[in-house]
């Protein structure tokens, strides 16, 4: 672990937000700020691949003092900046904490990357992984370290589900199955109940962090139930594709596939 001298009795909760491009990470952060900025002190670090677009978006959203939103450049390696070499992000987090001390929460937004990118516990205390219904209902089933073991999995943009032909309840059920019961939240920024569930999840985590009850977990670089490669393998050999293979994990069969309300498990 890098040195994190505890010069203050309390260090902010550092929360990472990861997930593929376009799933709504910036929007989720704006939603969190809107829901919480009046009661807790927040700072935001964004990681774009080669712009500060996300920082600009958040500043223009007007949900936080623009000085509390910083962009970190990742040299075209967004996954490196949150996992293998967190130097620039850690420096930005520490600077933010020092400048606006005491902060309750620092959100670190990963540059959109693929399903295998997760935060190192050297950088964040907890992480949210964000998928969206428009990315396809089957993504949650494919798994990956973020999907399987992030502290919270968000299935975002549920309001779009009817337009993209995705069964949200099924997608959430698949995700819960891949996560073996860890929390999954179906979110839409226009659905107040889901935003309230997100807010209460975060406040619960913050309380656990303050009590010293929260232990940062490393989702790890690979998930145990990762089927996407098997999938590609079958295709690359031009054999008849056996779809049953995708479903061979027992959890997929065991799960009741009942509709799950927003915020279940959170």
């Amino acid at each position: 672990m890098p040195d994190t001298p505890h010069t203050h009795p309390y260090r902010s909760l550092r929360l990472g937000v990861a997930g593929p491009v376009g799933t709504g990470k910036s929007s989720l952060i704006a939603t969190l700020c809107r829901a919480l900025a009046a009661e807790i002190e927040i700072g935001v670090i964004t990681n774009d691949i080669y712009t500060d677009e996300d920082a600009r978006f958040l500043r223009s959203a007007g949900v936080l003092d623009p000085a509390r939103i910083r962009a970190v450049e990742t040299g075209a390696c967004p996954h490196t900046a949150i996992r293998d070499d967190v130097t620039a992000n850690l420096a930005a987090v520490e600077e933010m904490e020092e400048e606006f001390s005491p902060l309750d929460l620092v959100l670190v937004e990963s540059g959109g990357d693929n399903l295998t990118a997760t935060f190192s516990p050297a950088l964040v205390d907890a992480q949210i992984f964000v998928l969206d219904v428009a990315g396809g209902g089957d993504v949650a089933r494919k798994g990956g370290p973020g999907i399987a073991r992030a502290d919270l999995l968000v299935v975002n943009k549920t309001d779009l589900a009817p337009y993209v032909g995705v069964d949200v309840a099924q997608m959430v059920a698949d995700a819960e199955s891949a996560r073996e019961g860890a929390p999954v939240l179906a979110l839409s920024r226009s659905d107040a109940a889901s935003v309230a569930a997100l807010r209460s999840w975060l406040l619960g985590l913050l309380a656990a962090h303050r009590d010293g009850a929260h232990e940062p977990q490393d989702p790890g670089p690979m998930a145990p139930h990762f089927h996407a490669e098997d999938d590609e393998h079958d295709h690359s050999h031009g054999e008849s594709h056996d779809h049953a293979h995708d479903y061979e994990h027992p959890h997929d069969h065991e799960h009741p596939h009942e509709p799950v309300p927003a915020g279940s498990g959170a």
Binding site: E73, T74, D84, E98
Partner: protein
């Protein structure tokens, strides 16, 4: 982790490894701006050699003098010459950047000499950012010499931190010069592969050619002891590209 004395070459390999987590992967040596400004791909080798004649002289000279200053700080405290007594023999924090030891004041003077020879502000800013990253590594790997501090300052540039590490961990002056040169060349070559499609194997050849170009300067650079003797090799075109890089929209690299 317990520090163990390792030979100079092992330290050089560790510090030159692009996988070392010190935040350097966002740097292209201003190559991105240079290519956008019309530097042809086939002249990137010449660009790397031009850096050896200018930027690298300043960086390597600074590192060597910083190594000397840190070593003098150790000697004044009776902790011996660099690399001779093993890292464990050091008094905690005696020569650490940021401590009140003799080494700290001397290192600050070396840093000022580097600033005076690094006229483009973006070059100084990235030098400090990389120095901070390296100092973070040093505080973890060699805590006996680089103690944790309240706050984050002072911010020393990369070559100064590198020199302090060299003094403490036992990297020789010639290896230090060659490390600075290799790192500069590899930074540009690696960035080239992301900016312009090309043969990665050919880029490795460019690195060796650039390192060879610095060889004639190695003996003189490695013998420097005084901040005033650090080369002051101006490179206006590189400084201009570094400045242009710092305001490039939609850039891949920070510097």
């Amino acid at each position: 982790m317990p520090p163990t004395a390792v030979p100079s070459v092992s330290l050089a390999m560790l510090l030159a490894d692009s996988r070392l987590p010190v935040g350097a992967h966002v740097v292209s040596g201003a190559l991105e701006a240079a290519l956008l400004d019309g530097l042809p791909r086939e002249q990137v080798g010449a660009y790397m050699r031009a850096r050896m004649a200018t930027i690298v002289q300043v960086e390597a000279g600074t590192a060597v003098v910083a190594r000397q200053a840190a070593a003098a700080g150790r000697a004044a405290r009776g902790t011996g010459a660099p690399g001779e007594d093993g890292p464990d023999a050091d008094a905690p924090g005696a020569d650490a950047p940021g401590s009140d030891g003799l080494g700290a004041a001397a290192l600050a003077e070396v840093a000022r000499a580097w600033e005076a020879r690094t006229p483009a502000r973006p070059q100084r800013e990235i030098g400090i950012a990389l120095g901070d990253g390296l100092a973070r590594l040093a505080r973890t790997v060699w805590p006996e010499a680089f103690p944790a501090r309240a706050g984050r300052g002072p911010h020393l540039p990369r070559p100064v931190v590198l020199g302090a590490i060299a003094a403490h961990a036992g990297l020789t002056a010639v290896d230090l010069v060659r490390l600075v040169a290799y790192d500069d060349a590899q930074t540009v070559a690696s960035a080239l592969l992301k900016l312009e499609p090309g043969d990665p194997l050919a880029a490795a050849g460019l690195v060796l050619e650039a390192c060879a170009a610095l060889e004639p300067s190695v003996p003189e650079l490695s013998r420097l002891t005084s901040p005033t003797a650090i080369p002051a090799a101006g490179a206006p075109q590189i400084e201009e590209w570094a400045t242009a890089q710092s305001v490039l929209p939609r850039r891949l690299f920070r510097a």
